[in-house]
């Protein structure tokens, strides 16, 4: 009988993840949505910017599956195109913010002392600086492109991740097994990578999957206060915000982009749960 090989934690993780079928399904759906966005020009039934003044605010019909908006543009096509912006905002900002924040939190929690103090005060400053203010500044300086907003949103998720990870790090640092590894002489980097990070990761993943949704909604908030995406690039949040004054008149204007956001957020959260559970060796 040949003994199984020593799999790296990453391989182990993948092995467990593969068994989570709902998570895989969610991941597949996300890929599908991303593909739809990428290939929007080939998939979208209409030009998302083409207005038809004879078909304003049409309810869903065979011609326009999701109806038309106040310019007579096809909402479905706009949602497909809008995925490009919205998914980019959600994914990039959450991933970038999560990555930087996690590193910061690990360093801060692990080092303690003045490094910790410095990094955490930096976070305080970042926090105190309302994200919206920066978003406005970015919009003001660089123009209202959503691409610019991504970075603003990313920067402002950094402190949350940093503090979360720092919290876990502080706890894990005390764990007997971390001390044990330390006494062996495991390098700081490996120690953090193999023993601390996996313990902090569940929180990061869950928060990240939540963050993707809220990042998409930042677009809505910005549009709401009048700083949205640059027209006519459709973006789910902006579509929602613009459609709100038609509530009660033409509800499909908000319904469909809302649905799109819901589905995407749901998928990311299911995926997040799957990843998280796969990190927990006690769950089969």
């Amino acid at each position: 009988m040949t003994a199984p090989a020593i799999r790296s934690p990453a391989r182990e993780f993948w092995r467990r993840f593969r068994r989570r079928h709902t998570a895989l399904l969610a991941a597949a759906l996300i890929v599908l949505i991303v593909l739809a966005a990428v290939f929007a020009p080939y998939i979208a039934p209409y030009d998302p910017a083409a207005a038809d003044y004879d078909a304003l605010l049409q309810p869903p019909s065979a011609a326009h599956l999701a109806g038309t908006d106040s310019y007579g543009r096809d909402i479905l096509s706009r949602i497909i195109w809008g995925g490009r912006v919205s998914l980019a905002v959600g994914l990039i900002s959450a991933l970038a913010g999560g990555l930087i924040g996690t590193i910061m939190g690990l360093v801060s929690g692990w080092s303690g002392g003045w490094v910790d103090a410095l990094l955490m005060r930096l976070c305080d400053v970042l926090f105190a600086f309302p994200g919206l203010l920066l978003a406005i500044a970015v919009v003001a300086l660089l123009g209202p492109g959503v691409g610019n907003v991504i970075w603003a949103v990313a920067v402002f998720s950094v402190p949350v991740f940093a503090r979360l990870v720092r919290g876990s790090t502080l706890v894990l640092k005390q764990a007997q097994y971390v001390q044990a590894a330390r006494s062996i002489g495991v390098s700081r980097f490996k120690l953090i990578l193999h023993h601390i990070l996996p313990g902090a990761l569940p929180a990061v993943i869950v928060y990240m999957s939540l963050r993707i949704g809220s990042a998409i909604l930042v677009g809505a908030a910005l549009s709401f206060i009048g700083l949205g995406a640059q027209p006519p690039s459709s973006e789910w949040g902006a579509m929602l915000a613009d459609g709100r004054s038609y509530l009660g008149v033409a509800d499909h204007l908000t319904l469909f982009p809302g649905l799109a956001i819901f589905v995407v957020v749901l998928c990311f959260n299911i995926l997040g749960d799957g990843l998280r559970d796969a990190l927990n060796q006690k769950l089969q």
Binding site: M1, A3, P4, A5, I6, R7, S8, P9, E12, Q174, A175, Q176, Y177, V178, Q179, A180, A181, R182, S183, I184, G185, V186, S187, R188, K190, H194, H195, P198, G199, L279, Q281, K282, Q284
Partner: protein
């Protein structure tokens, strides 16, 4: 049988998911406990003892394990016989505590890290005895005193990480006793206890049996304890019951070959009275005679005036008191030498060991490893790495020392990879070799710590310590959770390595018989200080310090015919290493009383 059974386990089988199927780890187990009876469950490490006990309490439900078949008949307080395997969760909850209580094997992880010890005990009292919190805390204090925890009022307010391994175990016992159970399942409750405390705890259990008629299912590896305590013995191996019998009959005439070999491997204190050097167990592979491995080379480790103290902080960070865990300890260990460190639970043995591997920060003193002061070397230098590789520590609580998120294979390979000893597939081969050495199946490389039994965990810890080919091993109760045959195998393994590589060893243990077997010299600690140190033969045969004498007198003998009904135990107040922040204890110098034999002559905590 005249007595109605309290517990009657019939054909119990338990399995765990494994890969795509399930593996059965307890198979058709039969077991009975009568009121007031003590049944010892002994057997090979990993044979399913702990799992069986979890199945009985149905705590198994909260994990991946499943009861596949069998009945667990239990006669409750009202005289009704119930099949625990069929009861619903709520009914089981009602039974746990006042009816069936359990002491878990891994005391560290089994205590809630963020709750005070007192609250964890009082909670059970409040739940089952309808006392208010203050009364419950008072009761908790009484319980702590009864399990001989020093300074009980303060320990009530301590958190698990603040107390020693033995204290945790006693706290677990106190929790189990708090609800005055009718059936107590104790999984290795005394492994981390020094013999004096062990004797007291055993007496406490007997009292409980007498007063309440509690049935006791006692899982242990210590045949001395079995002989001392048990009425009947059940022997398990590989998930199955091998044989059962009254303790006298079983010890006198074991029927199964495994039982026979088990009893043969039991070390008896005093069997090496005439031998100056350690001698391996008469186990395969064939022993090699006395362990004359100590050379005249300079010591690998020199500890000088080491002091480690812990500040006890209040909720908001202020220092309230200080634990003098290690006070001015000096100690040398030579290549090829094993020094046994013994002493009462909580006296600072682990702290000393942990200080040497720099898991604690000593307040003063020096630690020289091969002439290099390890406390002053800069981190991440070659010297630092050399000492971290050269000294390995086997943790007293093996489970919490393994990263729960990493497989056994990865944990064992970690020191090899860290120090770049091997590369690629060679790492894997070495890990397998190490698992073989400690008697674990190779497929355990892909297991996680929570899928191991206590003894298996401990062996992983040992394999991991050996992985970096150290010059010095600090083994903190490293064989306590192992059954006698495996224990003999591990001790022989260490001695073999000593012979081959000149490995030095600081062997922290409560088991005097093993100490006698393995050590060249014995050091005795008391309240953080070294009170006696000398050649093993001299210390064990003619102990000079009163504490050493007391320690030796309490060692149980693995022979039921020589059972002491009342051990001479002094019930004086247990001294405590806790002091006010500015109250430094005085340390008496060691005085030579024989060749290499030193003893402290001064009054410490009621002794002189």
């Amino acid at each position: 049988m005249a007595d109605p059974e309290l517990l009657d386990v019939q054909d119990l089988s338990v399995s765990f998911p494994a890969g795509r199927g399930r593996t059965t780890v307890v198979r058709d187990l039969r077991l009975a406990v009568r009121p007031g009876e003590t049944v010892a469950l002994v057997g090979e490490s990993g044979s399913g003892k702990s799992v069986a006990s979890l199945a009985i309490t149905r705590l198994l439900d909260y994990g991946p394990g499943r009861i596949d078949s069998g009945r667990i008949l239990y006669r409750d307080n009202g005289g009704k016989v119930r099949d625990l395997a069929q009861e619903d969760a709520e009914a089981m909850r009602g039974l746990r505590g006042p009816e069936i209580a359990m002491v878990f094997q891994q005391p560290m992880s089994s205590l809630n890290p963020v709750m005070r010890i007192g609250d964890q005990i009082a909670e059970a009292i409040v739940q089952h005895r309808r006392l208010d919190r203050t009364a419950a805390l008072a009761e908790a204090r009484r319980l702590l005193e009864r399990v001989r925890i020093p300074d009980a009022p303060r320990q009530l307010r301590a958190y698990p990480f603040e107390i020693s391994g033995g204290m945790r175990q006693r706290a677990m016992i106190a929790i189990a006793l708090a609800s005055r159970p009718r059936l107590l399942i104790a999984d290795e409750p005394t492994t981390a206890l020094d013999v004096t405390v062990q004797a007291q705890v055993l007496r406490l259990l007997r009292e409980l049996q007498r007063d309440l008629g509690t049935g006791l299912l006692f899982i242990t590896h210590d045949m001395g304890v079995v002989a001392e305590l048990a009425d009947r013995v059940v022997v398990m191996r590989a998930g199955e019951r091998l044989e059962e019998g009254t303790v006298g009959a079983l010890f006198a005439a074991p029927s199964h070959p495994y039982t026979r070999s088990l009893l043969a491997a039991v070390p008896v204190l005093g069997s090496l009275n005439d031998e100056a050097l350690p001698v391996p167990f008469p186990e395969p592979p064939a022993p090699t005679g006395p362990q004359d491995t100590v050379t005249a080379a300079p010591p690998v480790l020199e500890v000088r005036d080491l002091v480690t103290r812990f500040d006890i902080r209040g909720m908001l960070g202020g220092i309230r008191a200080r634990v003098h865990a290690v006070e001015q300890v000096s100690l040398d260990i030579y290549p090829g030498e094993t020094v046994a460190l013994v002493g009462e639970s909580g006296c600072g043995k682990s702290t000393l060991g942990r200080s040497i591997v720099r898991l604690e920060e000593p307040s003063s003193g020096r630690i020289l490893f091969r002439g290099q002061d390890v406390l002053t070397v800069a981190p991440n230098t070659a010297a630092d790495s050399a000492s971290r590789r050269g000294i390995q520590y086997v943790f007293q609580d093996p489970f919490s020392a393994l990263d729960p998120r990493l497989t056994v294979g990865f944990s064992v390979a970690e020191p090899i990879r860290t120090h770049g000893l091997l590369k690629g597939a060679a790492v894997m081969r070495r890990v397998e070799e190490l698992l073989d050495l400690v008697g674990l199946p190779r497929e355990f490389v892909s297991r996680y710590p929570h899928e191991l039994s206590g003894g298996q965990c401990q062996r992983v810890g040992i394999a991991r310590a050996l992985a970096s080919e150290p010059q010095l091993i600090i083994a903190d109760e490293a064989v306590a959770a192992l059954d006698v045959s495996i224990r003999a195998q591990i001790v022989n393994l260490l001695m073999g390595l000593q012979r081959k590589l000149g490995l030095a060893c600081l062997f922290i243990s409560h088991d005097m018989a093993v100490v006698e077997r393995i050590s060249h010299r014995v050091a005795v600690m008391y309240l953080g200080q070294l009170v006696e140190i000398g050649p093993r033969q001299a210390v064990l045969a003619s102990p000079q310090h009163a504490y050493t004498r007391r320690l030796l007198s309490a060692v149980p003998v693995p022979d039921p015919s020589r059972r002491r009904d009342e051990v001479a135990i002094d019930d004086t107040e247990v001294p405590s290493p806790l002091r006010a922040p500015d109250d430094v204890p005085d340390v008496a110098p060691l005085i030579q009383v024989g060749p290499g034999h030193y003893v402290a002559r001064h009054r410490v905590g009621g002794l002189y």
